[in-house]
């Protein structure tokens, strides 16, 4: 198995806020090109890589959806050279003060990235009731340090802002950075595609890096309709146990990917994947999700006439902060498990999926 870390680190340096995924898509496309037979962008920007299967046409197909979009911030106003902003995707404002960001400026002064910092104004410049409490997002500023005239020339309302925390390798083969949600899963799908180079598979495989997941799984809706897969697998990060997070929704970091069960998941697919993981002795965790999985699978499942869907999770600490943490091993295991699953799909697999009522 090749080391996926360098690719992942490269991907973590790319922005790609929901709706603005091009720079991430370029990096993924370059990596996938030699691993797939055809590659294109969907109408909502998702990247579609096709590996043709060895079965007779028309072949069934499996779509693997990993979203490539990132949460972040967006400029809403400029006051004396300081930027007001809103969130794109879910952001806890309490992690923002002192956070390094990049503003992707598109003003009259040309298109370019500008480094900046989220600043928490001193207490005397805030409503008195805030005092020592967390400062709500609406009162935080984004500061580029540039004189107001430069800012007015360079930046405009609507410019997108990414976290700029560079990826850091931690001990125990873990990595910290922003946007590991969900570039970790893009890396897992890449591991899967690499594995499939030497594994014949009957089914067509659609490797999809979806857009706009963070604001409502938008890219996955369009891609599922366009590609019309027989089954769909969404790979997304899930809550890992860690400081401040140890309740039932959390899984162990580094102890394997998770398999979700619940209304969003077709029980037969869940059983097939779980049996396979047991057979291969790939460690995994189980997640019980009573409603929305918060993944692209919630979209894929109900596109057109409906698509049997499955969710694989990669445990991640500190989700939606600039310092998310994942274990590289979990990425590799998720990739390998998917490759084995795909290689094991028989021509009549779908006929064997039934409701065991």
């Amino acid at each position: 198995m090749t080391d996926i870390t360098p690719f992942l680190k490269e991907l973590l340096t790319a922005p790609g806020l929901s709706g603005y995924e091009d720079l991430a898509a370029e990096i993924i496309s370059a990596k996938w090109k030699p691993l797939v037979h055809a590659i294109s962008r969907g109408r909502l920007g998702s990247l579609h890589g096709l590996r043709r299967g060895t079965g007779r046409s028309p072949r069934p197909s499996v779509m693997v959806a990993t979203h490539m979009d990132a949460i972040g911030l967006m400029v809403t106003g400029i006051v004396d050279g300081f930027l007001r902003f809103t969130e794109v995707g879910g952001v806890d404002p309490r992690v923002l003060p002192g956070t390094l960001v990049t503003v992707y400026a598109t003003g009259a002064g040309g298109h370019r990235p500008i480094p900046g910092v989220v600043v928490q104004p001193p207490v005397q410049l805030l409503p008195p009731e805030i005092g020592p409490n967390p400062v709500p997002l609406e009162y935080l500023f984004l500061d580029t340090g540039l004189p107001p005239s430069n800012v007015a020339d360079l930046i405009r309302v609507g410019d997108v802002v990414s976290y700029a925390q560079p990826p850091l390798e931690l001990s125990g083969e873990t990595i910290a950075g922003h946007t590991l949600d969900n570039r970790a899963s893009v890396a897992a799908l890449t591991v899967c595609l690499e594995e499939l180079q030497s594994r014949p598979h009957v089914w067509d495989v659609w490797a999809v890096a979806t857009t706009q997941e963070e604001i409502g799984m938008i890219g996955a809706i369009g891609s599922t309709f366009e590609l019309h897969p027989t089954i769909a697998i969404a790979v997304d990060v899930t809550f890992a146990k860690g400081p401040g997070s140890s309740d039932w929704q959390t899984s162990s970091l580094g102890k394997g990917p998770t398999l979700c069960m619940g209304p969003n998941i077709h029980p037969a697919l869940y059983k097939a994947m779980r049996d396979l993981a047991d057979r291969l002795e790939i460690p995994y965790g189980l997640e019980y999700v009573p409603r929305h999985t918060g993944t692209d699978a919630f979209a894929t499942q109900v596109v057109a006439e409906g698509v049997p869907s499955l969710v694989l999770g990669i445990p991640l600490r500190y989700m939606h902060t600039p310092v998310e943490v994942v274990a590289i091993k979990d990425i590799q295991r998720a990739g390998r498990l998917m490759a084995e699953f795909i290689a094991g799909l028989t021509p009549d697999f779908i006929e064997k999926i039934f409701w065991d009522d």
Binding site: V79, F82, G90, V91, D92, R94, V95, L96, P97, G98, T99, L100, I114, P115, V117, V119, Q120, P121, P122, L125, L126, P127, N133, P134, V135, Y139, F141, D143, T144, G145, L146, P147, P166, L168, E169, L170, S171, G172, E173, T174, A176, F239, G242, P243, G244, S245, D247, L253, G254, G294, R317, Y318, M319, H320, T321, P322, V323, E324, V325, A327
Partner: protein
Amino acid sequence: MQTIGNAQIKLLEKLCNACAVSGDEAEVRKIVLEELKGHAGDIRVDALGNVLVTRSGSGKKRLKVMVSAHMDEVGFMLVADDGEGLFRFETVGGMDVRQLPGKAVLIGKDHLHGVIGARPIHLTTEEELKQKIPLDALRIDIGPGGGKVKLGDRATFATRFQRNGPVLIAKAFDDRLAVVILLELVKNPPDNIDLLAAFTVQEEIGLRGAKVAAYSLNPDLAVVVDATPANDLPGWDGEENASFNTKLGLGPAIYIADSGTISDPRLVRHLNVTAQTEGIPIQFRQPGAGGTDAGAIHKSRAGVPSIAVSVPHRGSHTAASIARLDDWKNTFALIHAALMRLTPELLASARG
């Protein structure tokens, strides 16, 4: 005239990226001592770890002028091991706990990586969002593999220095901007004075290094170089911000009074006249809270007429501060010119 150029910016980068939490200033001290190599003068490291340099001038009737810059920065100490790479920590120096979640840190001499995370927003209730995350709920996470980290190790924010044209972004501008200025003064000393340079320790936890440095150096007067907050943001309600402390871009900030020191009025006047004569922009720091090493130095022995000059910067004592290249350049220019113009008559003049 000597000025701040690319070599000094490179040195600033090296110093800001170094980790030197109060009480553990070794990494910055090492860089300072290296930089001082080959420059004339008496160099020693005292009992607390201050680097003290004496460079004598050659004129007659020279003033002994202490110029100080502190080497230490705010940061963290690991104080308890929770296992699996998770450590409790305490803050060292004045820090707002609201600035800590979501930041990357470097630990110990080897700069091992760690992060201070936060509970995912998805699992956080509306009520929780209104509360700050207390220090005892935060951990430094170095990853489950463990590593060469031990209790007592210091940690700092992991922010790396960067420059965007006129803008500098880094951690620890307080007080590395001044350390570079002081190094440049030692390398290009004014001949009319005896320059007593003090690279001090433990400023952030109570001006402790400066206290003993001033005693040892026994100066006639002192100039403290520091970095001070520019709270020049707009107010939330659109009212004029009348408590900005200093403003970015207006030049070096001269102290008239802070919570620890009334600057010697003769020195205030001297700096002001120097700035007018040399055409260097200056601002007066709004009198008020905060303090510098001058707070300890001016009470040394029989007393030392003292003043502080700071480079304004935003985001002081946080993961990422912002300063302007020109403010830094002008701070060096002002201090250098002011020292060149110093004569013993100054101390004989009226205080006002």
